[in-house]
Symmetry: C2
Subunit: 398 residues, 2 copies
């Protein structure tokens, strides 16, 4: 069979499953999630063995150590993955929630309610936990999911799929085709796939957006900024800088660029250099590539004339993800927060808080740097659409 | 200059203007809208003359009468257009509205607020009022707008643009390039255009989606259904059918297909035929093309075994726009409303209510048949995104 036929066949099955899933109670969906967690635990030996096969192949083919690390399903990661499924079961179900009700003079009553999208396609790279995390979030929100993982994780993903498919039925579809054409078919399946979510690097995202006819929810880059104003508490600024850069440099909400007001630069930059030496952070103070996402103990440093120049710099070079100001001037902070065009803007706090759990969403399927539908951390609510239900008594329009 | 350079230059100006517009108060935006209305009235002679030139060219080139009608800016339409701008000024401004506030145990306070998208690109066909309607809605929501109209309306659109540009400045950009490449450049201007909205026929929409890299909010088709259950009040069913089909057959929320439960078909279909004869509605009772949008006094009629077959038919052949059930059985109605996967689902009411004003939104920029971001009528709120503002006191993540 052709890739197109296979992918469309899976999407059709997913669409049918989504229709059935809309009729399933919250209690039943939660029970399915707990069964899924138990099934994963029961299949741990097979999943581990499969992961070892992927790792052996990855090492033989000379995959970069960072990629090998992402691919590795350690015992700790396995436990966290299974616990993640259980915690999704314990979250409130957004489906069916009434957003508002209106009675109109025309005689109709309108209810706006949250509804599942229907079919979500997730294309991911080497981390096999994404398979389980996203499947759980989709099931909880009544969405069928079509998963397509990286070819380097094919054994692990297949084992995960085998472990859960007797619980999830057709609501979880797994694309085993290595050919990239499968991704193209997925994102062009208008009417069968409601939204596509890439979970991977910039190259994957760009390729998906280029081919897509269905809407894509995406996270491009996290080029986050910390601007230290001349009216800042420099001790606070250094503490935030340390947290935002060092705590987890590989995270998308880590800062990649420090901007310093020129008035305090002579005082603050030596403090920053001492901190960097202590923390082994490489500073780029000249020839900066302002749009670079380091994801490592490395960052750009720039001096700006005032806070407006900082805003302009961030809007121009940032990735509209998370950007912070440290200042004791409330008016400047308010202007910064209003004018910086990013999903999350911070005053006297670390950008590291951009995270579904930290925002009280319970779980996240990713962080959107888009503005349509979802911006910033995407939790269960962001995996839903809405519908208007209109009731009358034979009511017609005048 | 190349089309690409021109379009990107305009988009850059729009981006700058959007930045400034975010800083403008609601009172000032409303004043701009009133000035815009007055400027249009003052320029009526020039706009009328321009419309006459377009109409003469259209007739000379043999444009279809329906298209010529859409192109015509009658005195009544002109007045309605200007009043539309004034009514947008009187609506509440969604920008800056606080959606929620959360205090987290970590020490941060999070506020989720409504924000403008930034730059909206609207590509429309022959109706010149779309120029003014969409510009007003975008200005109100703090969005800059890039407008590209049909070449048959170029004189009218240019006159409208000349009339308002001294009020709107760079916040309204008008693409005069007839070449379709201008549309392609617009929808590929990632980082400059935040969302593209087609206002026109299926061909335009498909071409835009095919080329797009920026998100598109769209309305494909209105293939709306009326299902009459065997437990329906047939008088009510006929009254709703009459309203939904005859009141304004060219509207996207008019029904195109009547589905009748087989048990009452022998009784109800003769009533429908008599009604159709009286109202000059052409019925297709065999060889139906179920996915056809007539937009005229013409419709498909089908008989179904039960209400579940009706749901399946609608989900398969409909356009996920507006679909209705007429029944006195509350349980069936509830199932129908839950299971029909459409933006608006009706019980004992006419599909003609799918409309921004009827839903209490005050105005609409269109009706979305998509599920992402906006579904159903799109008002001012749907022209906004949101942002998270996080404040702390030197707060860092544990």
């Amino acid at each position: 069979m052709e890739t197109k036929e296979i992918v469309r066949g899976m999407a059709s099955k997913a669409r049918e499953a989504a229709f059935e899933l809309r009729r399933v109670s919250t209690a039943r969906k939660n029970a399915m999630l707990l069964e899924m967690a138990a099934a994963l635990e029961a299949a741990k030996p097979e999943i581990d063995a499969a992961n070892q096969r992927d790792l052996a192949a990855a090492k033989a083919s000379g995959l970069a150590p960072a990629m090998v690390d992402r691919l590795t399903l350690t015992d700790g990661r396995f436990r966290a993955m299974v616990e993640g499924v259980r915690s999704v079961a314990s979250l409130p179900d957004p489906v069916g929630e009434i957003i508002w009700t209106r009675q109109r003079d025309s005689g109709i009553t309108i209810r706006k309610t949250r509804e599942p999208f229907g079919v979500v396609a997730v294309v991911f790279e080497s981390r096999p936990n994404v398979f389980v995390d996203t499947a759980a979030l989709c099931l909880k929100t009544g969405n069928a999911i079509i998963l397509r993982g990286g070819k380097e994780a094919i054994e692990t993903n297949t084992a995960l799929y085998r472990a859960v498919k007797h619980v999830t039925g057709e609501a979880v579809q797994f694309v085993e085709i290595a050919d990239h054409a499968a991704v193209t078919e997925l994102v062009r399946a208008v009417g069968l796939v409601d939204v596509a979510i890439p979970r991977g690097g910039e190259r994957l995202i760009r390729a998906m957006c280029e081919a897509a006819l269905v809407p894509v929810l995406k996270h491009y880059k996290g080029v986050c900024h910390l601007y230290v104003d001349d009216r800042a508490d420099l001790g606070m600024a250094l503490s935030i800088l340390d947290n935002a850069k060092v705590q987890r440099p590989s995270a998308c909400n880590a800062v990649e660029c420090l901007l310093v007001h020129e008035k305090i630069a002579p005082l603050f930059l030596p403090m920053v250099r001492a901190w960097a030496a202590d923390r082994k952070v490489v500073l780029h103070e000249s020839d900066q590539d302002w749009e670079r996402e380091f994801l490592a103990l490395e960052m750009n440093v720039g001096v700006v004339g005032d806070f407006r120049a900082a805003v302009a710099h961030i809007n121009r070079h940032g990735s509209h993800h998370s950007d912070a100001i440290v200042t004791n001037d409330g008016e400047r902070a308010a202007e910064f927060l209003r004018d910086v065009d990013s999903a999350c803007v911070y005053h006297n706090a670390s950008t590291r808080f951009t995270d579904g759990a930290e925002f009280g969403m319970g779980a996240e399927i990713g962080i959107s740097t888009d503005k349509l539908h979802a911006r910033g951390p995407m939790g269960l609510e962001e995996l839903t659409t809405y519908k208007y239900t209109v009731t009358g008594e034979g009511t017609v329009r005048e």
